[in-house]
Assembly symmetry: C2
Homo-oligomer: 562 residues x 2
């Protein structure tokens, strides 16, 4: 059973496979007749309640089902929530990818890791590229964001232009290229049918700070620090890294880099010319202790408190080259992403306890968001002047607020569509209508498995994490109605059963009686005995401990054949 | 082996059993010779990594060991992190408790639940009380906080006065009684040996808003809302509840209350005179649908996104009396405590998706903290002018910043002591010295068990929550070296093994070979066979799935006697 959009020949269908009702796994699609344009293919990092899940990706069935129509995947920028899904997608559907130089370098790295690089079709684009298919054509415009080369995408279709902003802020003094306000204004003048715009900071009423302001703060802070500086930030924000390197050069410091993603980012940044530094600025990890403190800048990963990242290892005395010492100053050029707050706070405590100074928080203008607030979202709406509006890249409440902003700037309420992943919006040049829904659920990636974790497994993990597991085993003979071995009990994550001999013995007694009774019942079999064991043990353990561990009964029979 | 403080006869010892290096389980002690004064006995809510733990309390061994010296437990205010430990403490050491009327009402409720009320010795105090023992005497002063009757505590000892602020802010237009600035100033003039002061908001440079400002915002917001209002806040902030009730009365609304802690708070507030409302203001839950929307205020628990609280049930369509409808407005008069951010955001999404409006966030002056920021902490330091300073009630980084503030206000650096739970500070009238440490670790309360959960059990719960559990069982006969039943496999929280018949069969093969080999080895026994099973299965499962479930091997023998 294959999925097709339920749209008419004169309609363009617009949909998200991921990215609506969530921050993450952005994957948008635009179909006109037999041509489908995809924009971005991201992953989402799992929330805490997805125990043990590594990433969340979309269900790519729609793409697989429509592989013949897919003209290409166009990448707005190189963040994980926009490119992280590419290896998983390409395993299922090898489609051509169009991306800017930095995004392409990051994608190549991913594909190489997954052994997919050789067979991938990759095209380098820039803001001036125009990619023409038979019925649709794709062009681009520069925006500003927390990674170089963010592109807005314009999909020209017969019913009209569809513009996807990608992630953006309006930074009028950016470190990289400026946003192309004139192109946006021109698009607005020519007429845009539909705008898909970034809703991330729809709850923030203010205008975001410029990246250059952060750079100035970094320099001011570096100038005041006398000892070593340990600088943690998001590795993907190459502008930030560049500004830290520049501040190091200006204050006479060598730079050493720790953490794989930071090292990669610096290498990419140097190769693509985003990071510039005089020869001899960067030193090797093993040289870090050859320079006095006031001549060292240590740049590292781990600003989110990730326990295995360089900064956590440095703070906890588990790093090979760097040990924290009084006189060191750790600078967090980042904010804690919700969900990481506790980890970051603990990390700041550890650093502080080790005697180092810590500079963090909003106070010092040491970080700025890559996403524009309400003022910037309204500026985009005013420039593009879309007939129809679809807020994307946000949880429901953000989409809702963003739709309100669109109405404030003159988009009629009935022309704003708050949609879910898999919802289809069908547009002609004068009309827009919801046109059904296809399946676009979450797929969990866990270890090497994709999609073999579901709600039942996650529910079990939750219960296991609450009260642990108790395992009850007995070998029985259904002919003689005898218990040949056991019942035995083992537990994990429950309580210290070793210290509770009484509890074990009384549980065994409870089980023994339950098994005997079940064996002697009519039509007894493995599952009736197993059920009797659980039914007897669960209330007993709850009464004794007020806990509800998962109980796994296991009934073995000696003559059983496998 | 009993714990005693290592202090001299002319020294007063000051220590925390809980409350240092953490937000929670505040329990402080002051000992002079054979008299020990305790201040507060709180619980801490567990962080996410304490899987399944309900509360954290201090290890009360010190109190039990020194029961003969304890003169009483003095309560600063009725929040859980100051009174929640009382039932657990009283089970181990029945000591007299001194508290204000509201705190006492809350404590009585707790003791009743635990069947401890009959034997408890409770004394009601107020800001004018003076409790005299042979060598020490205790007096109090009013402060302002987010619950009525917050008291600062002054312990007069022969070496000097020790002042504990309790939780405080400086609210110059409070809803309840004003802070007694003059008494604080007088204490400062008379001379204070040591100040223990609240560090919660040491990272916040600003002066906190007044509770009255919040009340004005609530009224303004209520005046603009045309439909039903659903108002969620912290139940313990009786001032906030009172201001919401007042705004309801002023805008012609009836009030209905949902959620056990909110109902209790309203009852306590009415009884003690903190909440006042004309007769007929409060209606019964079953009457909620008898009034038009613009005449209803629904007050409920669940502002932290707690899944079982009234607001979550309302948002998810699982509440008996209230179903969300377009036209409803939900007001969050609260902030999300770190760790709850995700849950609160999900709740806002649900409410928004149900078509109701949501008012939340800092934008509307709809919430204020109960703890003073840096300016207020400095004001306290300036008023009390202590010779020595011990920041309390905070994680390490907060204590550190607070100590810095003390130095900014003139306390010499060497007179500031950042301590840990169990550390002892010994003071004479002119000296202060660290005087050793006693054991004051965390104790986990989980179900009915206290202290029967430790790191090994928690580590197991973590591993279980990551990749689940796989259980492998076989019945073997060590005499004949035969496998009589099994090997069998069962899993929970691992992957869908039902769909992986191949994985089960090949795992059984791996186990079978490992067991046979182990059985045939010299001196084989249950534990060598079990170890062989784990050693064979773990790498096999990792190779096949890149997951590391907990493996529980179980070896049964038919002739075994239990």
């Amino acid at each position: 059973m294959s999925t097709k959009l339920n749209i008419k020949n004169n309609e363009v269908g617009v949909f998200a496979i991921g990215g609506l009702g969530e921050i993450g796994k952005n994957t948008y699609g635009i179909q006109y007749q037999d041509e489908i344009i995809l924009i971005d293919a991201g992953i989402k990092f799992p929330e805490d309640d997805l125990l043990g899940v590594d990433y969340v990706i979309p269900d790519y069935s729609f793409i697989v089902d429509n592989i013949d129509r897919i003209k290409g995947l166009f990448i707005t920028h190189g963040h994980e929530d926009h490119i992280g899904g590419i290896p998983f997608l390409l395993k299922q559907a090898n489609i051509p990818i169009y991306a800017g130089p930095l995004s392409l370098a990051l994608i190549r790295g991913k594909l190489e890791e997954h052994g997919l690089l050789r067979d991938a079709t990759l095209y380098e684009i820039n803001e001036n590229s125009v990619i023409k298919f038979r019925k649709t054509s794709i062009s681009f415009f520069n925006t500003t964001h927390s990674i170089p080369e963010p592109l807005g995408v314009v999909v020209q279709t017969p019913p009209g232009k569809i513009v996807a902003t990608g992630d953006f802020k309006f930074d009028f003094t950016p470190v990289g290229k400026p946003a192309d306000l004139h192109r946006m204004a021109q698009l607005g003048d020519e007429g845009v049918l539909l705008l898909l715009s970034d809703s991330t900071n729809a709850e923030i009423p203010t205008f975001s700070h410029s990246e250059k302001v952060v750079g100035q703060s970094i320099l001011k802070i570096f100038e005041k620090i006398e000892g070593r500086i340990i600088f943690a930030s998001f590795a993907s924000n190459i502008f930030r890294l560049q500004q830290a390197v520049e501040a190091a050069v200006k204050t006479g410091r060598k730079v050493v880099v720790f953490g794989r993603s930071m090292e990669k980012a610096i290498v990419n940044g140097l190769e693509l010319g985003y990071i510039k530094a005089p020869k001899g600025t960067f030193i090797e990890p093993h040289e870090v202790n050859q320079y006095p403190g006031h001549e060292m800048l240590i740049m590292c990963t781990g600003s989110q408190g990730e326990p295995m990242a360089a900064l956590s290892r440095i703070a906890n005395g588990m790093h090979r080259q760097v040990t924290l010492q009084p006189g060191d100053t750790v600078v967090f050029s980042s904010n804690a992403i919700p969900g990481n707050t506790h980890g970051v706070n603990q990390l700041i405590n550890s650093i502080s306890e080790a005697g180092a100074k810590v500079i963090y928080g909003k106070m010092n203008n040491i970080h700025t968001s890559g996403h524009g607030g309400q003022q910037e979202q309204k500026l985009m709406l005013r420039l593009i002047k879309p007939k129809y509006f679809m807020p994307v890249h946000g949880e429901y409440r953000m989409l809702k607020i963003h739709a309100g902003l669109a109405q404030d700037t003159g988009v009629p309420k009935e022309n704003c569509f708050i949609m879910e992943n898999g919802d289809v919006l069908a547009l002609t040049k004068d009309t827009a209508r919801p046109a059904g829904h296809f399946n676009a659920q979450d797929t969990y990636v866990d270890g090497s498995g994709i999609g073999d974790i579901g709600n039942a497994v996650l529910r079990d993990r939750h219960e296991l994490s609450d009260d642990g597991v108790v395992l009850a085993v007995a070998t029985v003979d259904f002919k003689s109605k005898l218990i040949l071995a056991g019942p035995d009990l083992l537990s994990r994550g429950f309580i210290y059963m070793r210290g509770s001999g009484d509890l074990i013995r009384s549980s065994q007694r409870v089980l023994f009686n339950a098994i005997r009774k079940a064996l002697n019942a009519e039509n007894s079999n493995e599952s009736t005995v197993a059920k009797a064991m659980t039914d007897a043990l669960r209330p007993f353990l709850y009464k004794e401990t007020e806990r509800n561990p998962i109980i796994i009964p296991m009934v073995l029979t000696p003559d059983e054949e496998k």
